[in-house]
Symmetry: C2
Subunit: 228 residues, 2 copies
Amino acid sequence: MQKLLSNLKITINENIFLKDPESSDLGKRIVENSILLIDEIGFDDFTFKKLGAKIGSNESSIYRYFENKHNLLVYLASWYWSWTEYQLVFAINNIADPLKKLDLAIEVLTKTTTLDSTFKHIDEVVLKRIIINEYSKSYLTKQVDLDNDEGYFSIYKRLVIRLKELIQEANKDYKYAFCLANTVIEGSLHQQYLKDHFKSISGLKPNEAPTEFYKDLVFNTLNISPNE
Amino acid sequence: MQKLLSNLKITINENIFLKDPESSDLGKRIVENSILLIDEIGFDDFTFKKLGAKIGSNESSIYRYFENKHNLLVYLASWYWSWTEYQLVFAINNIADPLKKLDLAIEVLTKTTTLDSTFKHIDEVVLKRIIINEYSKSYLTKQVDLDNDEGYFSIYKRLVIRLKELIQEANKDYKYAFCLANTVIEGSLHQQYLKDHFKSISGLKPNEAPTEFYKDLVFNTLNISPNE
DNA sequence: CAAAACCGATAGTAATACTATTAAATTTGC
DNA sequence: GCAAATTTAATAGTATTACTATCGGTTTTG
């Protein structure tokens, strides 16, 4: 996987940043350390001033890359979903059987995240934790419709559409392909949050991913089963 | 329904407030108008100062009821889930068939909310919109584990447990009852959010509730069907 | 009817979420 | 290799937020 993607750059919608953080050393330090700092103190307490102190730089320099911390969160989320999309596309590449493809897609979308050494300045395991803890704050805002018009969520939407198409390929008669695709992608984050903070109502054991639950859910709902 | 519950008071964990807002006229105005103001400007821009201006009272008076706006949101959410729990309990009361009970429970938990005249100072339709837009902010915080220890989410957890038990009653062999219960309850809010803000990936029509999707999902997953 | 509780008003604080300006350092283009 | 352009760090400043503290006046209650 790493080999295949070694010359890969994740492309993010230019509206999200003022200056591309991939274009400079400071930019990469902003991204790298914002992930660590948000994980450490939470997005609500995260400020550009604190990030500046952490990277030995100035608040005002960070404002030249991102308009505000909300856009930085949108950037990090876009990066995560784009990275996930690549993993999904490579996983199902050259596979013909629609059921096997769907099975692999659910695997990619619901499994526990591991480190990908292709991107040196991004810790995907920590980033995934941020997505679980903070992603919904990127769209649960009053400006969501404006942000959406700017294309802030287009990568995420493309991923949902991909899964919806895999669901339809697997069962052309199923009526709720979009609802089911959203259930798997968003639900998987929620199940992992519950595992960490609401143990008494979580169906998962401490190190368990919700993968088996979602495979069972999807294949029973579609009335099919993947030929292993 | 209204008649049956006419002498009902929704009981909220005392840790959530400093002074019970149901105990005074000012308290009720705080609750009533916080719902309207949060709906209007969003929870992020909502402040006690603005609420004070709206109800012709003072910021400092509101602080005597709630420690901060976060606790007020937890209060509103607890009220909503408690109200939903009552609806669920009454809906399945005196029904023996486990499949019918589960069917009715899904109906209550996923349908579009309508006004309940039992509670004069609370507009349940607007409150539901707040729950859809803001509920996850009440637990996606760094202090979630402390809040959880204080019992801030106990009503919500009780509701999930109720649904999980109905699922188990309907199919004793199903292995993921908790995961499925969470999928229905939290997922239903998410599907309704998508309908309003992410039309291109929502499987729902403008006035459609996700009820049919979830009934199909649950009964196919459990390999049973409700005898209508 | 006195004590207690409640409420509204004012004042004050540290932190947040920025914007503006300037000067030094670095990069680049010829 | 040097001038011009760009980038960065530092400082200062603003409006707003999220509170806390205090203090009368009013209402409730025992």
